[in-house]
Amino acid sequence: MFKKILRQNEAYVFLLILALSIVIGMRNPSFFSFENITGFLKSYSMIGIMSVGTLFVLILGGTDVSFTAIAQVVEYAVVVLIMKFGGNILVAFFEAAILGIVLGLINGLVIHKFRVPIIIVTIATFNIYFGMLYVITKGKLINNIPQMFKDFGNILLFPQKSAIGGTYGLSLMPLIWLAALILGWIVLRKTMIGRGIFAVGGNEIAAERIGINTFAIKLFVFGFVGFLAGIAGVVHVAIVQSVVPNIIVGKELEVIAAVVIGGASIFGGRGTIFGTFLGVLLFAMLNNGLTLLRISSYWYSVTIGAIILIAITVSAYQRLQRAKTNVKVQIQE
């Protein structure tokens, strides 16, 4: 039983997180403080939400790089819409969802109808969405976002007074991240569509043969990615309390790396919600740890890169070792 757990990728990430917590915590015990934990969870909520979508695409068997552009476009659009037509936070999320889904569905449509690798199409749509965003907005920042977003971002559960007079607590953003994780888990584990994603990712030809509607599955996956990207965009506005049109893009590889470290296979067919959560958590803790340990943030990429390399090397080495002990022939004397 233990052996099976240890074989799982998630176990290693979990151990790594534990080790990291101990290392950071020993040097700077404020790591374990409520203020700190809620802090880094909040700042990584956006990436966390998007990572669920990335997991779905990886299970399907490809990599999507357009989700950051979708998040960027939707973020801008929703803020502008609210500024023009008013609305509360639920309206904002609703608009974000619709817009995100539409942009995502375009991906799904092209990918299925033209039978093209996911990465090609999403590179193209990335350029289209991001390019058009800049053409229309001329890269203008929006600093005076409607107060409604700021208020939403400032809601705190279990508020506490901090030493320097401010308040801290659990923001709603990590809860939205949690909701995304739960939603993802339910879909993957409890719905036929979710199993269909695994099926298509495992053997698309077989999936078509037994009558799975692969078109519907793809539309769903990319629509879902768009949906999550849209939600993440609104969350982002609430967190940073301004709209900067080029701050989310560029994070695609980071999100993909987090999901892969969490155990999703780039060949498709495999991946878990828990692993994805652990992957993002690891990155969040690393970032936070660097700050707490007064290590310059310049070392963030180096650390992430090193972790990726170590992870893939160890996993490859294990695979090669397993191949050596693969019993091909039952030798009899």
């Binding site: 569509i193 695994f198 099926a199 037994i210 030798i331």
Partner: protein
């Protein structure tokens, strides 16, 4: 016997080429029916029509005696027709339980999954053929024989009346094959009809009551299997009488080209030793799982042995890579032509030249005319039917593809040529031509190791035979003196 499905005068064309020309076919309830035919005979098309995947252009179909006017896509599934393709169409990343239950869950059209129900469906399917597979295991973790059983269980979850097995035994061990044949008889006793497509004629004879032979898109006829012999069946399939001539070695020189001493590799083979003379054809007969391919791969440098020695022409050779093997004069025609032998989408020319590019080059540069000429040499020499050397090798027939692989190996001017199951999936006429080629190579002085699990192929073409089983050489036999039946007995002893 009650009639289950009858096809009459079925015609089917693709883009103006007639694949089926007036095919008649009947299968009764509870019958095991064999379907044989060469590549291009229309077998696959017929299967696709029976399974409902394709619609016939014209002809009549009778289901349980009643004529069916219009065949809707997939309608045959509702009659209880299920196909298991050679690739099994399983989901490697899903559990056994899920794979078995998937079809049924799809039909129920419920959005949510009840895992208990999946387990229940899987368990009852397994019960039908009395197997017990670990439901929680991922399908890819299972050996291929077990995977096949999973595929059959999945087919059994519906109300199945006709099970179509398309080349099911290609990569199975003897034990798995016997297991499968047993399962087929078991299903038959429950009233399920089975259509069994295979090119392994001995298996067809083993279980099928009746055999339908297709040739060039038409039915040659349907015969009770008892009324046919292997030879008569082959003759009906090809339209030509085939005489199997035993290879008689002209002169085998006494020079020893290859010496293998105490080759051992954990989990692969143990203590293998043998000699190979110049111009000799050494047959290694053994089933899948006996270690024969693993042995070949060790000699060829793909997966070097843990211990043992190899001598080529008396000189010790340390072979740790394919480059070492080729340099030592050893070449290998792999067991799996498509995966290991050919770069499918590349040209015939590039495939033929692949192993000798360095020798064609000058400081890395290879002039194009040289590549073309070199390839054309082998195309002519081996009589490879191809319109132009630049066509992708995947457009060639199986026999011609194998000739390309052979040409690629021969271009390295080997002293030892190892052929691993070289005629699998190749038409009977092409098979004979390849055997002839092997014999003439031996006559020219090349030492040949012929690995196969087909007894006639080994006995007709070898000078000496090694019997391999469970990782060791169990017997060495003189091919001229061996009796076919003896060899069969020896193989089944293990």
């Amino acid at each position: 016997m009650q009639e289950f499905l009858r096809l009459k005068s079925i015609y089917k064309s693709f883009e103006g080429v007639r694949a089926l020309k007036g095919v008649d076919f009947t299968i009764n309830k509870g019958e095991i029916h064999g379907l044989v035919g060469e590549n291009g005979s229309g077998k696959s098309t017929l299967i696709k029509i029976i399974s409902g995947f394709l619609q016939p252009d014209s002809g009549k179909i009778y289901f349980e005696g009643k004529e069916v006017s219009h065949l809707a896509a997939g309608e045959t599934t509702s009659w209880g027709v299920q196909v298991i393709y050679q690739d099994l169409s399983l989901f490697p990343n899903l559990t056994v339980a899920e794979n078995i239950a998937y079809n049924e869950m799809l039909e129920k059209r419920r959005p949510f999954i009840d895992w208990k129900e999946i387990e229940h469906i899987a368990k009852s399917a397994m019960k039908k053929i009395k197997v017990d597979i670990d439901l929680a295991k991922l399908t890819e973790e299972l050996p291929i024989g077990t995977q096949q059983l999973v595929a059959i269980c999945r087919a059994l979850t519906s109300d199945i009346r006709l099970l179509i097995l398309d080349e099911p035994t290609a990569s199975l061990t003897k034990k798995d094959i016997n297991n499968l044949l047993g399962v087929m008889r078991d299903l038959q006793s429950k009233g399920i009809s089975i259509l069994f497509v295979s090119h392994k004629l001995n298996e067809i004879f083993d279980v099928a009551e009746n055999i339908t032979i297709l040739r060039d898109g038409s039915t040659v006829g349907t015969f009770p299997s008892k009324s046919l012999t292997n030879d008569s069946l082959v003759e009906l399939m090809t339209g030509k009488a085939l005489t199997q001539v035993r290879h008689s070695q002209a002169q085998i020189s006494s020079r020893i080209t290859l010496e293998v001493r105490n080759f051992s590799k954990r989990y692969n083979f143990k203590d293998v030793s043998f000699n190979l003379k110049e111009g000799e054809i050494l047959g290694i007969i053994g089933l899948i799982g006996s270690g024969r391919t693993e042995l070949a791969c060790a000699i060829y440098g793909i997966s070097p042995p843990d211990s043992g020695e190899l001598l080529v022409n008396g000189k010790p050779a340390r072979i740790r890579s394919v480059q070492d093997a080729i340099a030592a004069g050893i070449a290998y025609v792999p067991e799996n032509r498509l995966v290991e032998g050919l770069m499918q989408k590349q040209s015939v020319m590039d495939n033929l030249n692949a192993a000798i590019m360095k020798s064609l080059s000058h400081a890395g540069y290879i002039p194009y005319p040289k590549r073309l000429n070199q390839a054309s040499l082998w195309i002519n020499d081996l009589n490879i039917k191809v319109s132009h050397p630049l066509v992708p090798v995947q457009t060639l027939s199986g026999g011609n593809q194998q000739k390309v692989v052979l040409g690629k190996c021969l271009a390295t001017k080997p002293k030892v040529l190892i052929l691993d199951s070289p005629t699998v999936g190749i038409d009977i006429m092409a098979k004979a031509s390849i055997h002839e080629m092997i014999r003439s190579l031996a006559d020219e002085g090349i030492s040949v190791i012929l690995i196969s699990d087909e007894i006639p192929e080994i006995t007709n073409n070898s000078d000496r035979i090694l019997l391999m089983h469970a990782g060791k050489i169990r017997a060495e036999l003189d091919a001229a003196k061996i009796q076919l039946s003896n060899l069969e007995r020896m193989m089944s002893q293990f």
